[in-house]
Amino acid sequence: MAILIDENTRVLVQGITGNVGSFQTGIMQDYGTNTVAGVTPGKGGTEIFGIPVYDLVEEAVRERHVDAAISFVPARFAKDAAMEVIGSSIPLLVLTTDGMPDQDVLTILRYAALKGTTVLGPDTPGLISPGKCKLGVHPHTMFMKGPVGIVSKSGSLSYEVGRLLTESGIGQSTVVGIGGGPIWGLSQESVLRMFEEDPETEAIVLLGEVGGRLEHDAAYFISLYMKKPVIALIVGRMAPEGVQMGHAGAIIEGEEGTAASKIKALKKAGAIIASSSLNIPELIKKVEV
């Protein structure tokens, strides 16, 4: 498998009968994702796209065997839904929900750590392993199978770079969005480690942005652990200090959060710096994957 998912992954969709949930489930289904169950409380016993719908995650797990869950549940109810997945010991949860209170996210992540569930997100587009499985909302025509792993804070930026690579004939092993909120589960370092250990990934693209010290931590990890080439792009180069550029963390407070200081740290760690998204395909070709 690439990382985290493959064509055999059995998927459960939470909020499958909602507007967004049903629309995205249809697209995942067309892509070939093996969706085996859906959950919407009160809609148990029905079917959507031939997928059985259950009232409770526990029922779905008992009857269908589930490897991963993806949640399209709105913020207000998302904590309960996530706790239900973790309580049922499903190993992977993709939390697409945007706008959950921090306190709810902390509770979910703590419970997940206790029960051994990997949580991607919240506020993540999810992940896609082109040609194998799409567990998320990616516009899949922008991606194709190949040797490049992408890890990104921003969902939209990972689509953009996936599209540029695909147009240049360079495919991707897995594309992971870690989530745009202030707090999130699966870390950038964990994804980098998975890519390093994945035989199908030959090079990694790391997409970051201004604010916080995320990329400084990634740089430290790269210097210690990564042998495969890492190409990094930091966006928001010209962002003024002290204003929030969309994501909760994308705010420059002090020297550490500037693009220049992140680029310096990544460069020192041995990463190859892309000055623009447009340079990434050519930099990948140079490292000969």
Binding site: D102, Q103, S154, L157, G212, A239, H247
Partner: protein
């Protein structure tokens, strides 16, 4: 939402946390509300007020009037003073720092304390980091007595019981209010117990649905006191809760994702032009949000060309196109609009835009280049 000091203290008092006695003064006519001697504290949402001259001690009314006049007319670090909090001075034996916040790196609530109270904590972290004590509080376990004994010992606090009681109250208040930061600096040790001399509270806007009445009351109050000059676009964006940042150029920008929004700005700069703003709609935008967002960005009359940068995952491009079409039906097109559109349902959205005679491309670089050239040729 960052609360003003008097708002934070009012919330603390409601949670039975001791604060100095005081009165809120919004005009020199309120002078009779002040009990002398008093500390006059300008209510602005920034730190370092002491050094900035925003806190002054006055002994009697005659002395207070000119100080009050000057303070209410002043601007502290870009914030016009909205009101002044007049407080009874407190007899202080010692000062410490305590805060309850979210540690975003460990994904855990964090209790932070320092014996260096009354000083900017960033400065303490920089010069004497050994004076800062950090203890993670597991949400499933809560604050344990031994943690409080540990903190009290480190801060050399004698009255353990009062301290433990105080810390438990601020942890509970923070959780009940959905605060992302509750900072008491300084916490004064006085002959009559522990008193919060200053308080900074950040509330989690994402949790506003759990505290609707309280959050809207606090927001209304801030609006009432806010005399910051705002452009029409900023005002409209705040009203509509749209993520908008004003910049200095002439190219307006709207994106459906923060990452591509920042990338689009970088490209505008790289091509030698300057963006007028940053604006991001988030992944759940629909036609209505698209339309309202264009209205916000074009309320800024410096905008000479508008770039709309859309790459649909969760956002549906048919809906985005619908929003743009609706805007153009309701308004005269005042500036050229150049659109990048690809992704989910772009096969429907793109023909809608092109049918209206708009410049719409699938490629971002082409879009930005076209917009920059149009701005140059104006």
């Amino acid at each position: 939402m960052r609360l003003l000091e008097f708002q934070a203290k009012r919330l603390l008092a409601e949670k039975e946390i001791s604060i100095p006695k005081g009165a809120l003064i919004s005009s020199p006519n309120d002078l009779q509300k002040i009990v002398f001697p008093a500390l006059l504290k300008a209510q602005v949402p920034v730190g370092g007020r002491g050094k900035a001259g925003a806190i002054k001690r006055v002994e009697q009314a005659q002395e207070a009037l000119p100080v009050l006049d000057e303070m209410l007319a002043s601007t502290i670090k870009g914030h016009p003073v909205q009101a002044v909090l007049a407080e009874d001075p407190v007899e202080v034996i010692g000062e410490v720092y305590v805060a309850y916040l979210t540690d975003k790196q460990a994904n855990m609530p964090l209790l932070m304390a320092s014996s260096a109270g009354g000083v900017d904590i960033e400065e303490v972290a920089h010069t004497t980091p050994e004076l800062i004590i950090k203890r993670h509080i597991d949400p499933f376990v809560g604050v344990q007595d031994y943690e409080l004994r540990f903190l009290a010992k480190a801060l050399q606090i004698v009255d353990l019981q009062a301290f433990a009681d105080f810390i438990r109250k601020i942890c509970a208040a923070s959780q009940e209010l959905d605060a992302t930061l509750l900072e008491i600096n300084p916490l004064a040790l006085t002959p009559s117990g522990l008193i919060a001399l200053d308080a900074k509270i950040l509330l989690d806007d994402k949790a506003s649905y759990r505290h609707q009445q309280l959050f809207s009351q606090l927001k209304d109050e801030q609006k009432k006191f806010d005399r910051t000059a705002k452009t029409k676009a900023v005002e409209l964006a705040e009203e509509r809760q749209i993520n908008y940042v004003s910049l200095k150029g002439n190219i307006g920008m709207i994106a459906d994702g923060a990452g591509t929004g920042m990338l689009t700005l970088d490209m505008i700069y790289d091509m030698g032009a300057r963006p007028a703003n940053f604006c991001e709609m988030g992944g759940m935008a629909n036609a209505e949000i698209m339309q309202r967002t264009i209205e916000v960005v074009l309320a800024d009359k410096r905008v000479e060309v508008l770039v709309i940068s859309l790459i649909g995952g969760l956002t549906r491009m048919d809906e985005m196109a619908e929003g743009i079409v609706r805007y153009l039906k309701d308004n005269d097109q005042s500036v050229p609009i150049v659109i990048r559109m690809c992704g989910t349902k772009a096969d429907i959205g793109l023909p809608m835009l092109r049918g209206m005679g708009l410049d719409a491309f699938e490629d971002l670089a082409t879009t930005v280049r076209t917009a920059v050239e149009q701005a140059r040729n104006l």
